[in-house]
Amino acid sequence: MITCYLKEGKFEEQSYQDFEEIARSVNTGREAFAAMPLDAIIQILDTLGKNVLKNPEINTLPGVSYISLWLRRENLDRICKVNYSDKRYLDGFCKNETNVLMMAQPRGIVCHWIAANMPTLGFFSIVQAVLSKNGSMVKMPKEYVPLVLSILRELPAISVEYEDKTYSGKTVLAAIAVVTFEGRSTEVSEKFSLAADCRVIFGGSEAVRAISHLPCRDHCETIIFGPKYSFAVFDQGYIESDGFKKALDAFVKDVAVFNQMACSSPHVLFLEKSRYPHETVTSWLCDAFERLPAALRNQQISSGLSANIINARARYLLSEGKNCVAPRDLGWTILIDQDINLEEPLQGKCIFTKEIGTVDDVIPLVNHKIQAVSIGILDPAKREAFARQVTSKGADRIVVPGTMHDFILPWDGIMTLNRLVRWVILKNNPASQV
């Protein structure tokens, strides 16, 4: 059974047995939408970002203020520029340095499988499809449907002027459908997959493997944002710098946002030996955790996760050479040892800290599962050398504390918008025929 919450721009809950009618409506909607100039689309999204911030029913919801920032025109222009080199490719054939004209055509219908870790992930995925003029059928966790719909509900009221023409958010909305269905149902999942011209898959290892093995059409492109792991490393100079305590505040926010369920959430913090003993740095880290806003510090967790954290704390307290520093509740946990390795994630704001001789000690630990490495290295040459080494071993993003979750493309090493379009050519007539 498929439940559709948004189709043809209408927010109505309807049940379907298959995706035929939903896909047809998205295809119809995307024809008018694809004819819109990209700049007009960006203008609509920019207005959407401003409007959600003004709407008191939405603006306090988690992640909405970041959405508003992310939808700013300058940011979207930058994303398009990075991905397409020139926005005009989306609106028609353009000349370039070769002999042919090139254009970026949308792939068609993008089917999105949204993971359950981040409430606003579905929206970010939709916007990427919008910026590539694709239609979208979005399967998302049921609990996040209301949030994403509440943002999309702002679209119909938006109209923008671009080159003397008026463009409406309704046109954008008509190319989007939001659905839920039981992911374990192979039959429905196969139908969803077969409806796609492009599949965008977010999720853990099992989910990604299962979805990517579903049958799909020969031309279908599959973009996978699979399971990843992130960590942080700070060098001596950074730890001894004046701004270090502020950096720790930023770092614990990276730990706290999404309660460590995102692929960009850090699980281990490596600290280069400095003039401050490990205990001192740990106590600063404790203070930073306690300075978190209550909404981030006291995020509810499942009783299963509680048990895992309680067990980890006890293991470290009972083990020689290990320690655990934590408050009485499960707001956050620091697990300390000297083993130079990465640790299996616990989630729920549990950070493993380890003292290292030099930041280079962590380089052998990096592999292709590593997404973000938050580095605290002030010396530019050392930073770049470190970044070159860890990215060559597989890491995708080298960032600074406080920015681990910033949704900047490329993500997971992928230029998403570029993958969401087909690059087509128009060869010029030979000069003799002109």
Binding site: G204, M261, C263, S303, L318, E320, D329, E343, Q347, L365
Partner: protein
Amino acid sequence: MPETEPVRTYGATTREKLLTQAPYASEDRQKEEELLPIIREQLKTARRNNRQIDDFFTKQGIDIETIQKPEDVPYIPVQMFKHFDLRTCPEQEIVKVLQSSGTTGGIPSRIPLDKATTINQIKALKSILSEYLGKNRKIFLVIDHEGINSPKLAFSARTAGVRGLSIYAKKTFYLLKEEEGKLSLNMPVIRDIVENYSHEDVYAFGFTYIIWTVFYEQLKKEGIQFTFDNFTLFHGGGWKKMQDLAVSKETFSDTIAEVFGTRPDRILDFYGMAEQTGIIFVDCEHGNKHVPCFSQVIIRDPFTLDPCDIGKTGLIEVMSVLADSYYDQAVLTEDLGVQIGVDDCPCGRKGRYFRFVARVEKAELRGCGDTFRESR
């Protein structure tokens, strides 16, 4: 086994006194006053005899002398019995290490026992069971196969139940048999029971899920019904599977009471674990589990870890003064329960009373954050 070990005296109240008095006669406050001095002394001994436990206290900056409430006693999560030696007496005093198979992870819990602890456990269990069975020994029916009690098998919740409850048995019968890993009715034994023991005092034990899916199902097919004059069933475990089958505790009690020709209030669910052998928390006739005087139960909020208000579901912590040989003074389980009240259960038993809610669901990593290991 002789029961003449020297009695260890802790504070004003001896543990011996707690083990001989009526198990549910003390009010909660009085019980806490009696338990805390004993526990404090036990914790001091534990620190002296086990460096890991000493570390556990030191790293948390715990001063035993300042422990004034049961909830301040540092709890050890039950999983730690799988990973650490939680012995609290000198090694040469250990007479047996109980290995419990458990239900998760495959690693057994290791529970070291000395003589005194074993005796205390037997005394405690006798004290609890006497409340429900009276003083006399009875015919004991085990709703399981005989192999479950084999010393060759790892100790499991099922084994613990059979061995523990057998202390009241004058004769034991196994009502099931196992062939090629499948359980079925042990018909010759069942016929013998029906024909010769219906008018005797009988009590039985079985694993809830097995009673329902094997014993009851097959009895129904065979059209067998017992007609005991005086019968009590103790059952426990497998409630998650029962929930999956949508069988409530009430349905279970009503149906099984009919099978044995007894009243539903003689079908007694109990809660217990191998790590706290000797203590079982048995349902009273009002469906509440009571805490005996040598034990305490704290329901902790799964996030704040503070004791929950009455009526709020949380993690079950069980406390006990029975063990000198391992850390069972405060064990945090991976079960959820709810405290129903204190000292005022209509059944008349004093102290806290609670209900089991569910096992904690195993937490799996959510989202796209994942292991750092590369897949092959």
